[in-house]
Amino acid sequence: MISTNLLAVFYLISGVLFILALRGLSSPETSRRGNLYGIIGMALAIGVTILSVGNFSYGFLYLIIFLAIGGSIGAFIAFKIPMTAMPELVAGFHSLVGLAAVFVAISAFLNPTVFNLGIPGAIKIASLIEMSLGAAIGAITFTGSIIAFLKLRGIMSGSPIIFFGQHYLNLLLGILLVILIFYLCKTQTDIWFWTIVVISLLVGVLLIIPIGGADMPVVISMLNSYSGWAAAGIGFTLENSALIITGALVGSSGAILSYIMCKGMNRSFLNVILGGWGAEQSSSSTSSKEQKPVKNGNADDAAFLMKNASSVIIVPGYGMAVAQAQHALREMVDALKKNGVKVSYAIHPVAGRMPGHMNVLLAEANVPYDEVFELEEINNDFANCDVAYVIGANDVTNPVAKSDPKSPIFGMPVLDVEKSKSVLFVKRSLSPGYAGIDNDLFYRDNTLMLFADAKKMTEEIVKNL
């Protein structure tokens, strides 16, 4: 129905629309239009593909049914999901892209004639390599994302699972995959293809289990990147430019996010992937901290301090998401603003469990985005600020990162919270954060510890204002 050339032009248009969709995200004003471009691009790609196949018999009916079922499930999830569950949702979605890539690769392997790849048993070598790569990366994305999902959801413990020889095993399996792809090309036998899929599924699990909970921002970004490369691999197999363009865009997007997250922790990508941060540290740091004095405050003190301040900076972290304290926080800020206090928010790049996690939660609580600042934008302001209200963050405020070269987090960019006149630190106990090290900030003279649940404490402060 549509000539191959025309089809290619339409795919190109879809690809351009996807680029515009990402481009729109450079500012919140243009982002909504960007999303619309993305939707149009997707509708176009699906529409012209259906027209190009031109098979409007039973198959078409089933296609509509499957599309409708999938679409309704997706729409239902999209409307029901609470904003705090966004990291799990994204991980879950990644696993679906991965599995879809595997299915398409399997389909292409079983029925190569439809895609002009040759006939079963004599598939073009290049296509075989491309589809095995697509299937392998897809399978890794699938199981890897499921592990990430389980960890984020709390079904699986967030602590790293490490066993002897883990990295060698991964290396071995990686080499094995290359050998298998070689044999597949040589013999064209099904069994090698299925083995590639199964081993890749295993690799996905093994890659993610050693990575701890707070490293999830890197993991999610990395899986995001993988899902892109999987799509690109399938794009090469199917000779489809829309898929190649999109795969490359998504792949590089995920890679950049991983890089930003790693930089936010001052760790190399390899260091995160090899995993196990905190595991070796936790034993040594537990001793000898009990003696140091801590100033303990209550909601009344906190309210008094903030009411009489002229500027307050709020530092949210993962604890705020866990306690769902963003709405209470917003109420507190409203009350402070009525008292003429200037309030802004400081977000560390790795606060939360995924890139931009805190920003979404604050946006959900109706915090205007121009009151929310990134680390570099606001870090100098702490020196002129009266009160820093740290809610659910820990390691990202630890001054040790600047002073103690022996500390595992040394060199990590941190918020200079300690420079403000007084620090209010909402935390349930003195337990160390994810990095397994003590936060020096707790024992400073200008720090007042508020031991409570983040949401309850914030609500109490609101009452006292």
């Binding site: 995200l25 999303n35 679906l96 439809v114 795969g247 890139p355």
Partner: protein, 103 residues
């Protein structure tokens, strides 16, 4: 000698990586979560492969193994496409500027 079409596809791929690189660096950090959900949605354009696989062959044998995998892939990709774009829309709708005139 003619250039292998693979080289053209490779060129598209490499250039798209560069476009992705520059476009994504200009995404504001506060929109990184929507960025992830939208990239998720658009990577489900893999559905085009699924559609071709599912509709292949004549209607009598529409439930070949290869076709079934195609239909399953359509289902998964559709969840992602609708879920991804809608949840992105929902998030983006929450980002508001400071209201200048207080009521």
């Amino acid at each position: 000698m003619e250039i292998d079409p693979f080289i053209f596809r490779l060129s598209i791929f490499i250039l798209s990586i560069f476009i992705g690189y520059y476009v994504v660096w200009s995404v504001t950090p506060s929109l990184h979560t929507p960025l992830m959900s939208v990239t998720n949605a658009i990577s489900s354009v893999i559905i085009v492969g699924a559609v071709i696989a599912a509709l292949a062959g004549d209607s009598n044998e529409i439930f070949n193994t290869a076709n079934i995998f195609g239909f399953l892939a359509i289902l998964l990709a559709a969840i992602n496409i609708f879920g991804g774009f809608l949840v992105t829309q929902r998030m983006l709708a929450m980002y508001k500027k400071k209201q200048k005139d207080k009521k």
